[in-house]
Amino acid sequence: MESLNADVLMALPEVFMLAAASVVLLIGLYTGRASETLAYVLSLAALITTAVLVYSTSASSESFAFGGMYLNDPLAQAIKLFACVTVAAVLMYARPYLQQRARISAEFYALGLFATLGTLVMASAHNFVLIYLGLELLSLCLYALVAFVRDSRDASEAAIKYFVLGAIASGMLLYGMSIMYGLTGSLDLAGINAYLAQSGANRIALVFALAFIVVGLAFKFGAVPFHMWVPDVYQGAPTAITLFIATMPKLAAFVMAIRLLNYGLQELLADWQQMLMVLTVLSVVFGNVIAIAQTNIKRMLAYSAISHIGFILLGILPGTDFGYAAALFYTVIYVLMAAGTFGVLILLGDREREMDRLVDLKGLAKTSPWFALIMMVLMFSMAGVPLTVGFYAKLYVLQSLVYDGWLSVAVLAVVMSVVGAFYYLRVVKYMYFDEADDVFQVQPSGLAQAVLSVNGLLVVALFIFPNALLNYCVQVLG
């Protein structure tokens, strides 16, 4: 019993988040306007408190709970902190959007919190079972969120596609895990690693299991060729939900990749490197090339997300600590940029229609110069232009590649970023050099606008001070 208390104490952030999510859910029973505000405030408070709890559980080294299933280390702490902050920002962005369409209820917040809980579980998972459960918890919430606006045909279609494909991917992941269990006799990451290190298990069978696990990972990331859900879901879901899907789950996917590939299957480095290389090359090429042909901005951003995912995986590819740190850096920066970009789209949309065609951005510099400026900064950052932090994100990943001798892949990535710059700059062109077809009325929403401004400024500020974040990433993954 003693030990259980200590275990629960260590998992306090998760326990608290679960309790908070349940409370928010219960509040939803009392319908009406006030309950929505209450749920909103409570959710933000819960996220902040969880972040504080995470921060206060010192994790300078690795410490385990629940018989080695729960791992608390700097990486887990970092992912949890980023996730809480991200979700808080997402809620602040999403609220005015959903409110405007009178589609918000306490369940939305509850689902958001449960999804965060899923990420927390994954961040600390040191066991196949927990990784899978965390992933399912997160994914289930996302499926529900996509379909959250029931009367939208697009959203329902996207949700069904997401759900079915997600189920297939989970099945594959689970299959791979079970074979891995059968081969190594352990579900524990350290146990698997130890088994692989000391005995020359049948490599072919291991690779077989590995392939299925990598498929599960790649689907979660949305890497080509497991990316098909990404454009449809990004486009079909309400923009606020797209914002959610585009940001926080990327952190979860990253930590899942590190836990599986680095902690559990490090011995199979050479094998998964080959698989990742296929995924990264395809993602970077297809993501960037197809994005050019898009006319819907959300769809374009979906393909851009795929190419960014390629870059994150490129950081993981060399299997070095610096590479992992670069990938984490990239992930965090991507989350920051995606949040800002979709934030702009959310704030620009109005009750009647979504702001989702590229041409809708025409003349934005005249109608709302501040948004246009932020959007331009974000686009530059996504393209990796200096003076924005996106430049560093790409630079570090490429550096880690070159250090480890992946020169040709690095060159390809650079070429493809140049291709990518085209569609980012096209957005800037629309905003600054074209006349507006019709005037967009921007809905002022104080808090969301403030968050957006901070978001945009961070992109620039981190260019001036990239080292603080990079050092943190290196330290976390050192």
């Binding site: 299933m69 509850a110 689902l111 449960f114 965390g134 499926y143 049948n202 072919i204 069978a205 690779v207």
Partner: protein, 195 residues
């Protein structure tokens, strides 16, 4: 040993055959019934592994609850089979090809001696599989067990949020309003000129 193998292959053959049948029969009700058969045979194979609890749960939950519900849904929905199968012939060659490649790959890889772990010893007859599972779930695996519970909770929330329509035009009574109604609300006195 021989009997065990015979039983295993017997059930396996039925399992594979009924699984194939399930995806190829024309009538959806038949497909569901084949699925039930798949579950039954899988349960039988689990029994061979001395996993009695899981085997019985599979039958009770999946066959007893899930599949019955499924059957109701399938029978109530009017599914146009001809339309659904329109592409079947067209995609069959590609599908077959991929399926065969997959099967070959799996066969090549898994045909070699892979699972070289020690085979667990058979337990004595009075060994309670159910009790062991329960003990594990509530001690060692308490954390994943709770998380699994949360997943189910989320599934319930999701299902309810997505399906429960709050009909705005539905006619229902509001006792509070009925009680608090007063005369002025209900009766309006008008004075009119005589015709």
């Amino acid at each position: 040993m021989l009997i065990q193998s015979t039983v295993f292959y017997f059930f396996s053959a039925i399992l594979v055959a009924s699984a194939l049948a399930m995806i190829s029969v024309r009538n959806p009700v038949h497909a569901v019934l084949f699925l039930v058969l798949v579950f039954f045979t899988s349960a039988a194979i689990w029994l061979l592994l001395e996993a009695e609890f899981l085997a019985i749960t599979l039958v009770l939950v999946y066959v007893g609850a899930v599949m019955v519900l499924f059957l109701f849904v399938v029978m109530m929905l009017d599914i146009n089979l001809a339309k659904m199968r329109a592409g079947f012939a067209r995609y069959l060659p590609v599908g077959l090809l991929v399926g065969i490649v997959m099967a070959v790959e799996m066969a090549v890889i898994l045909s070699r001696p892979a699972f070289d772990l020690q085979k667990p010893q058979a337990k004595p007859a009075d060994y309670s599989n159910t009790q062991e599972l329960g003990e594990l779930l509530f001690t060692e695996y308490i954390y994943p067990f709770e998380i699994a519970g949360v997943i189910l909770l989320v599934a319930i929330i999701a299902a309810i949020t997505l399906t429960m329509h709050k009909r705005t035009r539905a006619k229902r009574q509001s006792p509070a309003r009925q009680v608090s109604a007063d005369r002025a609300e209900r009766v309006r006195l008008v004075s009119m000129d005589k015709e």
